[in-house]
């Protein structure tokens, strides 16, 4: 019975992980990464590892995508400011 639930989750995991690897836009990648973290947490729960599922949920779904998005925002703001300066100089 348990295998019947685990197999689809494993397949879903493979699909989402492939999507995360194929996503080229970092912002989109961060969101897919959050979904991947959630699927992994679900798999760990099904495998009766609630401790690992909790860590995965906290780190993989919340903190890592957040750090990626914050980095992107800082990079984009920097780039915009440089462009504005270049325009002023020319």
């Amino acid at each position: 019975m348990n295998e019947l639930v685990i197999l689809p989750v494993l397949l879903l995991l493979a699909a989402v992980a492939t999507m995360a690897a194929l996503a080229r836009d970092p912002a989109r990648q961060a969101v897919v990464l959050a979904v991947l973290g959630m699927v992994l947490a679900l798999l760990f729960t099904l495998l009766q590892a609630p401790d690992v599922a909790l860590s995965q949920l906290a780190v993989g779904t919340a903190v890592t995508p957040l750090l990626i998005l914050l980095t992107l925002r800082a990079v984009r703001r920097d780039r915009r400011r440089k462009q504005a300066e270049d325009r002023r100089k020319s």
């Binding site: 348990n2 295998e3 609630p50 401790d51 909790l54 860590s55 906290a58 780190v59 919340a62 903190v63 957040l66 750090l67 914050l70 980095t71 925002r73 800082a74 703001r77 920097d78 400011r81 440089k82 504005a84 300066e85 002023r88």
Partner: protein, 248 residues
Amino acid sequence: MTRRARTRLFLAAAAVIAAVFALACLRLPPFGTQTHPYADRAVEATMRQRTANTVSSVNFDQRAFDTLGEETILFAAVLGAVGLLRRTADERRTRPRPVAVLPSTRLFGAVMLPITLLTGVYIVGHGQLSPGGGFQGGVILATGVHLSYLAADYRVLDRLRHREALDRADALAAGTFAALGLIGLGAGAAYLQNVLHLGTFNQLVSGGLVPYINAAVGVEVATGVIVILAHFLDQTEEFAGGGKGGSR
């Protein structure tokens, strides 16, 4: 290193790992059976140490030295992030502006913030009894504090966290874990050996050293993650960098 050399190096290493991993998996017990040689031994040791949560017993008692290494990695990561993201000479500190938030978002934050913090404290506090522990609860505490950023704005978040106190608490908690190991040496046993009174099974204070190490890890993870996120947020919210054009 050229792109092709890099790809070749990766493929060679990946082939070795794939082969050795496949060999290792062939000798594993089959998936989903009732026999778990490692789990049986771990649970037996857990019962002997009167710790209700086997995972916490493995992390903070049976394999406490490994966990000390992992906590040191986290501490080093915090140090590295603080060092790399510190304010540079060409960055100016700006005052973040107040931001308008939807009333429903504000209400959501006001309700969820105390609930999230309480959940975090509960999960840290019951690490030796039920699933979770210092690491999981610590991350919940750290991310929970940032609900104030979502539901209000950066200035409210800044008032909630005392930067210097968090820096100190992080270092102190990391040091506490290492120092707790000395109790074992003092009692004439090994470093980090669980020599404290074990207490009654499934009570809040049980498992000897486990709840104390667990609490130290909780404080370290919570403060460490807040400090890392604070430095990342500074980059987007507070610092205006690069020459004269810093006006927003």
